[in-house]
């Protein structure tokens, strides 16, 4: 790392060369112009393996500027391995930017698996890392045919998948990557965010960008754009409810909130299931305000 720092003058700001960044920005403009359409681009080799968020990273590096504030999340947490490493790589290659763990302080958020609980603002951009950009891949192996199906908005075979789910299990069993129709036409795979986060795409104030590095695609949900999960008229879309057998909603064992997406794990000491906020920043914020209340009260 020290050699890298010594020679970092050899690298341009943001690691990618200006031409590559320009191409990605142009691709982003096209993606915004056609909401939900997967725009192909020449995904660059990054100094990390495909599948570690190279698509999101290239978007972030192309969009970030000096003086801006970045937040990197993995599974809702700022401290997980992937998030820490991506953040330090960006800090290293983009001198002059700030990083934060706070959702509200950031301009640019790169995320995997989650959209922050706190509502985003118009001046924020969220970049999601996408492993499989095409929702149709589960029903049609040929990309050529998938392109035609997207063009004609023919998603009947995806709906058959939902039909079969309801027949077999009485409900739609897709837990994440829920196919979502953008602006009344293209159906996207909204990266591995849980169903819980899908409604946050709808009429979002912030620009949402999706980068798939290995599949070489970029797509977008522009601000104030419709995003409707694929459903049947008479079977409404449901998000994870976190309701236990008694009909009560689980709460975060750390901050006590009842309105967040919860991670479930086993407490190694007691062997019991414990629930905790998946969004660590949201959890911390609640902890602080709780303790404030205690002091004030």
């Amino acid at each position: 790392m020290s050699t890298f720092r010594q020679n970092n003058a050899a690298y341009p700001f943001g690691f990618l060369d200006e031409y590559a960044k320009k191409e990605i920005r142009r691709t982003v403009l096209k993606a915004i112009a056609i909401p939900g359409y997967q725009v192909p681009y020449s995904s660059r080799e990054m100094p990390m393996g495909r599948g570690f968020g190279t698509g999101g990273l290239q978007l972030t590096l192309s969009l970030i500027g000096k003086g801006e504030t970045l937040k990197v999340i993995d599974q809702g947490s700022d401290d997980s391995v992937n998030a820490v490493n991506l953040r330090s790589f960006i800090e290293m290659t983009c001198p002059g930017i700030n990083t934060t763990a706070s959702t509200s302080e950031s301009n640019l958020i790169q995320s995997r698996h989650r959209i922050p609980e706190k509502a985003l603002r118009e001046d924020q951009v969220i970049v999601l890392q996408v492993p499989y950009p095409d929702a149709l891949v589960i029903v049609e192996p040929s990309e050529e045919k998938r392109k035609i199906m997207h063009g004609e908005a023919d998603y009947s075979r995806l709906l058959v998948k939902l039909y079969e789910d309801i027949v077999k299990f009485d409900e739609i069993t897709i837990s994440h990557r829920y196919p979502t129709r953008i602006n009344g036409h293209y159906v996207i795979d909204p990266s591995p965010i849980p169903r819980y986060d899908v409604p946050k795409l709808h009429q979002s104030k912030a620009l949402i960008l999706f980068g798939a590095g290995r599949e070489k695609k970029i797509y977008a949900v522009p601000p104030y754009t419709d995003a409707e999960p694929l459903v049947f008229d008479d079977i409404p879309f449901r998000v994870e409810s976190f309701i236990d057998e008694k009909g009560e909603r689980h709460h975060c064992s750390r901050c006590g909130t009842h309105d967040s997406f919860l991670d479930e794990f086993i407490n190694p000491d007691s062997g019991k299931k414990v629930y905790q906020c998946s969004d660590s920043d949201y959890c911390d914020e609640h902890m602080t305000s709780n303790s404030q209340e205690v002091i004030n009260g």
Partner: protein, 276 residues
Amino acid sequence: MDKVLEVSHLSKVFGKGCVNCFEHTGPEHNTNICPYCGSIVAAHDVSFDLYKGEILGIMGESGSGKSTAVKNLFFDQEPSSGKAVFYDGDKQYDLFALNAAQKRHLRNHRFGMVYQNPVLGLNFNVSAGGNIAERLLMSNLSNYQVIRDRAMELLKRTEVLTERMDELPKNFSGGMQQRVQIAKALAINPPLLFLDEVTTGLDLSVQAAILDLILEIRQEMDTAMIIVTHDLGVIRLLASRTIVMKYGRVIEAGITDQILEDPQHAYTQRLVASAL
């Protein structure tokens, strides 16, 4: 009567083709392979009309071009030349001049096809009900209960046990698969239905039941059908008019009873005489 389909001079040649192809093939030459260039003249100069509620039979031995004619009309193959006009209410479509999207529209929303091999017509990875739902979902239906009821109604109509609606069609018998295929083809009430050797390979009692079903459907829905078969019994039972093909040419065409009782062409005479 309302005309549904008008086919004129349909030809299909596999291979590069040459000027001698049509002159040196056909029943008179006992071949459909051009001796000059080796191209196969699968069908040449096939013309017929089809009216609402009518069943047209295309009869011939294997390799006579009867399936080729239907595959061209259903866009499974591209014809070499010819014209076909499909009349749909006040709209009319010049079938061979349509773009790919219009072709898909007709295939998905206006035509039904039942293949000899159910693998071609059914998706074996989804249940029988799901197969029918797929066609219904193409046409903007988006209510689960409505789709489920309609699928059940269709399967009941085609005499598939509704308890087996949620099973995969690969676990069904051949006759049952064929019924599911017919139900799927009928899901969108197509004005035109193609049946390509639907009873071939099924045992006689199942054949009879499926033929009955086809006749009933024609009566109920007034669907125009083209049925391709080599089986004289099927032709006699179903078709009101028939065309007989050999080596890619139409050798005889007319009212079924007339063709079967008073065949003019030597080949047809042999065919009728050899029927048990």
